[in-house]
């Protein structure tokens, strides 16, 4: 075996010996990330209740018809999933707006229902904090407008019908019939969720949000993997590189040997985590349609498809560690690069809200290309552009890492 072959096999052996410490650092990193994500999710999104818009109801809500209407909106209407109506005093409502507890409140004037019955207009007022007419407030205003419109028009006709019946001497059971009419109105009109379907087009590449984030997590994990592997790359000095160079193993060859062994150990870890994921998928109810029911072979087929991404990210790690020999600096740079690239490429939040120019640029970043490739692997879309881009990146990173190694070994430009 040539010295290059021996160097490659020794690097592999060395990396395998470092595996336990790398695994420990990886698990710690994953736990820290998981805790961070959990805290962010529980603080900002919270439970389903926490996601609802809270709207106060202030004023005269003593009328039984209005009470029935509000109860219907609270308990029957499909808007109950997005809006929570809270009855409160005006002062409390203003204070709640100030503290952000509610988005706004609907101020229902006295004799609101009497006015309807008498054909007069006493409009309800939707109050929001000054300067708070944001997207949420506009939607809330629209919904409350729709609700009040429905209430006013529908109940005007119900009570007109009641008056008409009374005028024609049909007084027997009139109250009960009016109540039945109100209930029919609630059942047929307010419960309008059944008259439309919501069809969600996938977040990107027709994937569900769950599958989108599975791809994002895989990419971020591979990128952050470089942090765990600092012990592989950190060198005290360049003596071995110098000795190898003196024996004809050029810096570029050294980098390629180290890259191959690093890639091998990374793939080993990917397979290890894939097995763990398979166990989870097979034993727990997974809500993500794209991976539900996947078995070991499906997961391993996906792992094989991941190889180009792993090759590119490993090359990226090589260049970072070559550029920054100091362990702390390199780990920090790995973290910043991983998070920064991941953020720009939409790994944390779909990047629609970025300007078009940034979205276009992000699509060509290593992370953007890798992310798109992973998504397309799941949705079985055409991956040629991504494959070519990743190949080019890989060659470029390895070449630059080799140039840096040469510079560090020889001190020559």
């Amino acid at each position: 075996m040539s010295i290059k072959g021996k160097y490659l096999s020794l690097q592999l052996k060395r990396n395998i010996k470092l595996c336990p410490s790398i695994l420990i650092v990886t698990v710690i990193t994953m736990c820290a990330l998981a805790i961070g994500v959990f805290l962010i999710l529980t603080n900002t999104i919270g439970t389903d209740e926490g996601q609802k818009m809270k709207v106060g109801i202030v004023g005269d809500v003593t009328d039984s018809s209005l009470g029935v209407g509000l109860t219907a909106v609270k308990n029957i209407d499909s808007s109950r999933f997005s809006i929570e109506l809270i009855e409160m005093e005006r002062d409390d409502a203003i204070e709640a707006i100030e503290t952000g507890e509610i988005h706004g409140f609907m101020d229902i004037p006295d004799d609101f229902i009497d006015g309807i019955l008498k054909g007069r207009n006493y409009p309800a007022t939707y109050v929001v904090k000054k300067g708070a007419m944001n997207f949420g407030s506009i939607i809330t205003g629209e919904i409350t407008g729709t609700v009040s419109d429905l209430v006013i028009k529908s109940q005007s006709s119900i009570y007109s019908m009641q008056n008409l019946a009374r005028d024609h001497g049909m007084k027997k059971g009139l109250g009960k019939k009016t109540e039945q009419l109100n209930m029919s109105y609630i059942n047929f009109v307010l419960n309008r969720g059944k008259i439309y379907d919501i069809e969600t087009v996938g977040v990107a590449d027709n994937l569900s949000l769950g599958a989108y984030y599975i791809c994002a997590i895989i990419l971020i994990m591979i990128m952050l993997w470089g942090i765990s592997c600092y012990s592989i790359f950190t060198k005290k000095d360049m003596s071995l590189s110098k000795l190898l160079a003196s024996r004809g193993i050029k810096p570029m060859h050294q980098v390629i040997c180290e890259y191959i062994s690093y890639f091998a150990i990374t793939m080993l870890m990917v397979i290890f985590f894939a097995i763990v994921c398979t166990v989870v998928i097979e034993n727990f109810e997974i809500a993500i349609a794209e991976i539900r029911g996947a078995d070991m072979w499906d997961v391993m087929a996906f792992v094989i498809k991941m190889i180009p991404v792993v090759l590119m990210i490993c090359a990226l790690h090589m260049i970072i560690y070559e550029a920054v020999p100091n362990a702390v600096g390199a780990v920090l740079l790995q973290f910043i690069v991983s998070i920064g690239l991941g953020y720009l490429s939409g790994c944390f939040y779909p990047n629609y809200f970025f300007p078009d120019s940034i979205q276009n640029m992000a699509a060509w970043l290593p992370s953007g290309v890798g992310f798109s490739y992973l998504r397309k692997c799941i949705s079985d879309a055409d991956i040629l552009r991504e494959l070519i881009s990743m190949f080019v990146y890989c060659i470029m990173f390895i070449f630059l890492a080799g140039v840096m190694r040469k510079y560090k070994t020889t001190g020559d430009n």
Binding site: I3, K6, Y7, L10, Q11, K13, R14, K17, L18, K236, D237, S239, L240, K242, L243, L244, A245, S246, R247, G248, T409, T410, G411, D412
Partner: protein
């Protein structure tokens, strides 16, 4: 071997200016000089790690600076720091440079036995003392039985016993016709040297050591 007019510059700073000398088989050349005088740069040029600005390094009529395959076969190089894989054992590190049969032979009767490497064969490098690491580094550098051995401060920060061991090995190496070029600060290594040169301000001058340490210190 003959070194002819080797020069090296970093930008406008000329580190080596037309360095020339020759050495025969079994001869040891001592390179003395202060810190940053260019000794390590000179040795790394001869080892092929760095490129020379100009000059020749001739062995048996071949310019080794232009023939990397020949240079790799002829020259052994021990850098100042230890060129070892820290996580692996001495045996693993030796595997990089030796064929398995040759390694066994050298451990029984050869150079590796002489350097005492068989005593710590299964010890990971990170648990070794400085002396062990240096002996192992020399063992790795001479695996291909080089005719010229370049040593960059081999005894720096080593204990007396270890220095003695390395010194004995170098004597043995010389006795078999090997040529040694030794960059050193260590007075104990000077008796090994058949000729000495002082490298100062990029210029190499011959030096005759007469045991006067103060004169030597003043010359550096």
């Amino acid at each position: 071997m003959e070194v002819k007019d080797i020069s090296k510059s970093y930008g406008k700073k000329e580190v080596l200016q037309n360095i020339s000398f020759s050495a025969g088989k079994g001869e040891c050349i001592g390179l003395l000089g202060g810190n940053g005088s260019g000794k390590s740069t000179f040795l790394s040029i001869l080892a092929g790690v760095q490129r020379a600005g100009g000059g020749e390094f001739i062995h048996n009529g071949v310019n080794l600076l232009k023939n990397s395959a020949q240079r790799s076969a002829v020259v052994g190089y021990v850098p100042q720091s230890t060129p070892l894989l820290e996580e692996l054992t001495a045996k693993d590190n030796l595997r990089l440079w030796y064929d398995p049969e040759d390694m066994q032979h050298q451990l029984k009767n050869g150079v590796l036995a002489m350097l005492g490497i068989d005593e710590f064969l299964k010890v990971p490098v990170r648990k070794m003392s400085g002396g062990m690491k240096k002996r192992l580094s020399i063992g790795c550098a001479v695996a291909h039985r080089p005719e010229i051995l370049l040593l960059d401060e081999p005894s720096a920060a080593l204990d007396l016993l270890c220095k003695e061991r390395i010194s004995n090995y170098l004597k043995e190496y010389k006795s078999f016709g090997g040529t040694v070029i030794l960059a050193t600060h260590d007075l104990q290594e000077l008796p090994l040297c058949d000729r000495m040169y002082i490298l100062k301000n990029g210029v190499l001058n011959p030096y005759e050591y007469d045991g006067d340490v103060h004169r030597l210190a003043g010359s550096l």
